[in-house]
Each structure stands twice: as structure tokens, then as C-alpha cells.
């Protein structure tokens, strides 16, 4: 018997059967994952609808909460910051608001993806559809919430006399890159979190601490002004993959183009791509194997 067990999956060909869990090569994993999502669109749509319903339908104010939540949060940070730093830039409240919206999306998708297998263990043990669907539908839900939240800047734009300009093209691109960074990076650790639940604690810390080293309460320009381009702190901050996209989101609304060093721009563009590639390979190779440990 044990000799036979060693026979590889290739002998399914002998029986012309479709094997479950056929090995995905590292090269094809990123494409395989995309095609899995594509062929389960109907399920994805239903799951997103379920999650949005869960969150807003029963609430008295419903979807108004997508605007209220970031507005309230930003006003708290704003008051705090005015007291502590005595900063008097007119656009500052809007910067904080955009920072809060972008960072919340990033942090929620990252934590949600890392926890996607453990929080959905009940469903995972009863169904055999591709498991990347759980984290992707949660990411799409957050994307929808973020897009709705962004409408809260409209009154600020009126107040600050800012008119939408052609720089808005950076907005969808930056949001998408934040989403893919968080999701792809989360996929790398989702299976590990099943075996080592400490992973989730580490990520909760990362997203808490990350709030302070991301341009939410400060901006890229403030860092350059205070620390200088040559300082080691500037280099450390630019290591954070969300600095460039969040800065772009702010500039896209204000109608200006941010100035980055080429290296930082390339880094920010490559980070989501490599996160997704590595995440998809690791997730497809490991996720099914950890189901028995859920």
C-alpha cells in the first residue's frame, strides 16, 4: 500500500479523472487565482451583497455611516492634532480625512485577509470553492465602502474652493494599488495564521503602529520639510509601501502632482505586483492543506 501512496497525482491520468488539488506551478499561480475569481463572479457578488447588508441595512442611518465614520474619526484626530501640533494649514482637515479613509481600507483588508481562513472556518469546512474568494469578497466590500466614504470630501472641496481636475485619474489607480497591496500581502500569511495564530496578533500590531508611520496625520511634504530628504528617517518612511499611494490620493483631489524620487515611485508600483504574485503562489500552494487544522 505505501508504495502505491507514493505514486504521484499523475496517475490520475490512468483513470482519466479530474484530480482535486492538482499541483499549481509557481508560474501559473497568479493566473490560476485570477481565473478562480473570474469563474466565481456570481458567488462573489452574493457574498459582497451579504456583507454590505450585514453592516448597513439594519442601521437607522444605513449607508450614511460610510460617510459618518471617517468624518467623526477624522475630526477627533484633527482636534487632537490642532491641540498638540498647533498646525494651521487650511487643507489639513481634508488631508486627515483622506488619510483616515485610505488607511482604514488598507488596514481592514490586510487584517481581514490574514484572518480570512480562521473567520470563515465554518463555511470552509462545508464547501469546496476556492478559498481566495473569502478574502477577495471582503476586500471588494471594503473597496465599495471606501468609494462611498470618499464622497465625504465633497463639502470640504466646496469649502476650500477646490475644483475636480484631470489629476483625479490618480485616485482609482492609487486606491486599487492600496487594495492589491493589502490583499496580496495578506494572502502570503493567511495559511500561516491557521497554524500559528500569533500571526494575527503581529498583524494587528503592524496595522496599529502603521497608522503612525503612514501619511494620515502627517503628509509626505511635512516629512521632507521636517526631516529632510537626506535623513535616515525619510528613507525609513519611504520603505512603507502606502506612502506613495496615499500621497497620490490627496494630490489627485487637490489637483496637483506630487514629486517623488524615481526609486520610490518604482518601489510603490512594484510592491503591489510582487505582493500579489508571491501571495497567490503561497496561498494556492498551502491553503487547502491547512483546512484540517481549522
Amino acid at each position: 500500500m505505501s508504495d502505491e501512496v507514493v505514486e504521484s497525482a499523475t496517475d490520475t491520468k490512468k483513470y482519466s479523472l479530474r484530480p482535486f488539488h492538482s499541483n499549481v506551478s509557481a508560474f501559473s499561480a497568479p493566473f490560476k487565482l485570477l481565473s478562480n475569481l473570474f469563474s466565481n463572479q456570481y458567488l462573489l457578488r452574493n457574498l459582497v451583497k451579504r456583507d454590505l447588508n450585514q453592516k448597513y441595512n439594519k442601521a437607522l442611518l444605513g449607508y450614511v455611516w460610510t460617510l459618518l465614520e471617517p468624518a467623526l474619526l477624522a475630526s477627533v484626530y484633527y482636534v487632537l492634532f490642532i491641540i498638540i501640533a498647533n498646525h494651521s494649514e487650511a487643507n489639513y482637515p481634508m488631508w486627515v480625512l483622506l488619510g483616515v479613509i485610505s488607511w482604514s481600507m488598507f488596514a481592514r483588508i490586510l487584517n481581514g485577509t490574514v484572518n480570512s481562513l480562521t473567520t470563515n472556518s465554518g463555511m470552509i469546512k462545508q464547501t469546496n470553492f476556492p478559498m481566495e474568494i473569502y478574502s477577495f469578497s471582503a476586500a471588494i466590500t471594503q473597496l465599495v465602502i471606501t468609494i462611498l466614504s470618499l464622497f465625504v470630501v465633497i463639502p470640504f472641496m466646496f469649502y476650500l474652493d477646490i475644483y475636480p481636475s484631470w489629476t483625479l485619474w490618480m485616485l482609482p489607480l492609487s486606491i486599487l494599488s492600496l487594495m492589491i497591496t493589502a490583499w496580496g500581502f495578506g494572502l502570503i500569511f493567511a495559511s500561516a495564521n491557521v497554524v500559528f495564530p500569533d500571526t494575527a496578533h503581529i498583524f494587528r500590531f503592524i496595522t496599529r503602529a502603521g497608522f503612525f508611520v503612514s501619511p494620515v496625520m502627517w503628509t509626505y511634504e511635512i516629512i521632507i520639510e521636517r526631516a529632510g530628504v537626506d535623513s535616515i528617517y525619510f528613507d525609513i518612511v519611504m520603505f512603507n509601501p502606502v506612502v506613495v499611494p496615499i500621497t497620490c490620493i490627496r494630490h489627485s483631489i487637490e489637483g496637483t502632482i506630487p514629486e517623488f524620487e524615481t526609486f520610490h515611485l518604482v518601489y510603490a508600483c512594484l510592491f503591489p505586483i510582487f505582493s500579489y504574485i508571491i501571495g497567490s503562489i503561497i496561498f494556492l500552494k498551502t491553503s487547502r492543506g491547512v483546512v484540517t487544522r481549522l
Partner: protein, 217 residues
């Protein structure tokens, strides 16, 4: 369909071992065994939910596992929306779900409540909705974990009839159950699990008498 290998759950415990099983198209297989003998693990491995640490599972055709009925349903969505949601969780396309919507609603006898949110349903009504969706399709390979009995006696009888109909329509059925009467009546072949191994495999009469022999001790 062919199952082959072992599944390990936990560091030292082998949930399934030395499994080498080929099930041919058209067969109805019954699985019996005591609690904890890994019957469900075998079924879930066949369904592709668990990945064997060694060996492989291969199938020909589409496969559907009838267990944990209603998993993923949401209390804020209406009955109708939940039919779509649960159907898609079971792997059906939008077209399939649109096609069988009326039939599902009719079978569940929930016409008056179907556009109300699920939280207004009693637990029996929720189960009825779940079973109505789960039993509405005809997969090539059907896996059933314990025959489902919920709702009032009338619905229970009808749902059992419907599962029987489903089994008739499916090419291949693999059934975990404790009701030996049913198994004896419908199975071509039976197997008895013990501690993750297939203890005996054979005709229903053989396996059931062996079961009593072993358990009688």
C-alpha cells in the same frame, strides 16, 4: 471516482489511513461506523474540502456534498436573496438558480415569507429553506452526511422523498448514515470505518452482520 491516501488532522493523529477506494459510476455506497471513526472526514476528503497529506482524490463529473445545510445564509437578507446566496455557495450559476427559484420556493412552502428577511424565520423555516435549495440539484456524484430530518413530520417526509429522488437522478451516491434499514435497501456496496481505516467493504448484508458481530463484543 478514486480516493487514495491519508489525511492527517493534528500533529500525531491520523484521521484517515490506508484508504484505497474506487467507486464506479452508478454505484450507491453506504458508509457506517461509530462516532469518531472518520466517516465525515472521508466524505469531506472525497468532496475536495480536505486535502490528503499523502495520495490523491480524483473525480469525473460534478460533485456535491449535502451537509451543514444552510451554511453561509444571512439573517438580514430575504428568503429569496438567501436562495441566491446559498445556491452560489453550493457552486451553482446564476442561470441555474434563476431556473429553479420557483420550484425551490414552492417546495419550501415559504411563499408568503420569501421576501421577508431571514431573521423573521423560525429555525425550522430556515432549515426548510436550506434543504429546499440543497436538494434541488442533480449532481453527478452526490455525497450525503447523515440523512437530514428537520421540520414538521410532513416536510420531513417530503424532504426524504426528495433526497431519494435526488439519489435516483444522480449517477453515483455516497451516503453516511446510521439507519441500517435504509442503507440495506438502497446500497450496492457498503463499507465500515474504524479508526480511520476501512475495516470491511462488501455487500450490505455482509457489512451489517459484521458490524453487529464486532459491536456486539
Amino acid at each position: 471516482m478514486r480516493v487514495f491516501g491519508k489525511v492527517i488532522a493534528g500533529p500525531s493523529f491520523k484521521a484517515l489511513e490506508n484508504i484505497n477506494l474506487t467507486i464506479n459510476k452508478g454505484e450507491i455506497i453506504g458508509i457506517i461506523g461509530r462516532n469518531g471513526s472518520s466517516k465525515s472526514t472521508l466524505l469531506k476528503t472525497m468532496a475536495g474540502i480536505y486535502k490528503p497529506d499523502e495520495g490523491w482524490v480524483g473525480i469525473d463529473g460534478d460533485i456535491s456534498l449535502l451537509s451543514g445545510v444552510g451554511v453561509g445564509m444571512n439573517k438580514e437578507l430575504t428568503g429569496r436573496e438567501n436562495i441566491h446566496l446559498y445556491g452560489s455557495i453550493l457552486g451553482h450559476s446564476r442561470e441555474t438558480m434563476d431556473g429553479m427559484m420557483d420550484e425551490v420556493i414552492q417546495f419550501s412552502e415559504l411563499q408568503e415569507f420569501i421576501d421577508e428577511p431571514l431573521r423573521t424565520y423560525s429555525s425550522g423555516m430556515k432549515a426548510r429553506l436550506g434543504i429546499s435549495v440543497a436538494t434541488a440539484v442533480k449532481p453527478d456524484i452526490l455525497l450525503i452526511d447523515e440523512v437530514l430530518g428537520v421540520g414538521d413530520p410532513g416536510f420531513k417526509k417530503r424532504s426524504q422523498e426528495r433526497i431519494r429522488k435526488m439519489m435516483d437522478d444522480s449517477n453515483t451516491v455516497i451516503l453516511v448514515s446510521h439507519s441500517f434499514g435504509l442503507l440495506k435497501e438502497i446500497c450496492d456496496r457498503m463499507l465500515m470505518m474504524e479508526k480511520g481505516n476501512i475495516k470491511i467493504m462488501g455487500t450490505p448484508d455482509e457489512v451489517i452482520s459484521k458490524y453487529y458481530e464486532i459491536e456486539g463484543k
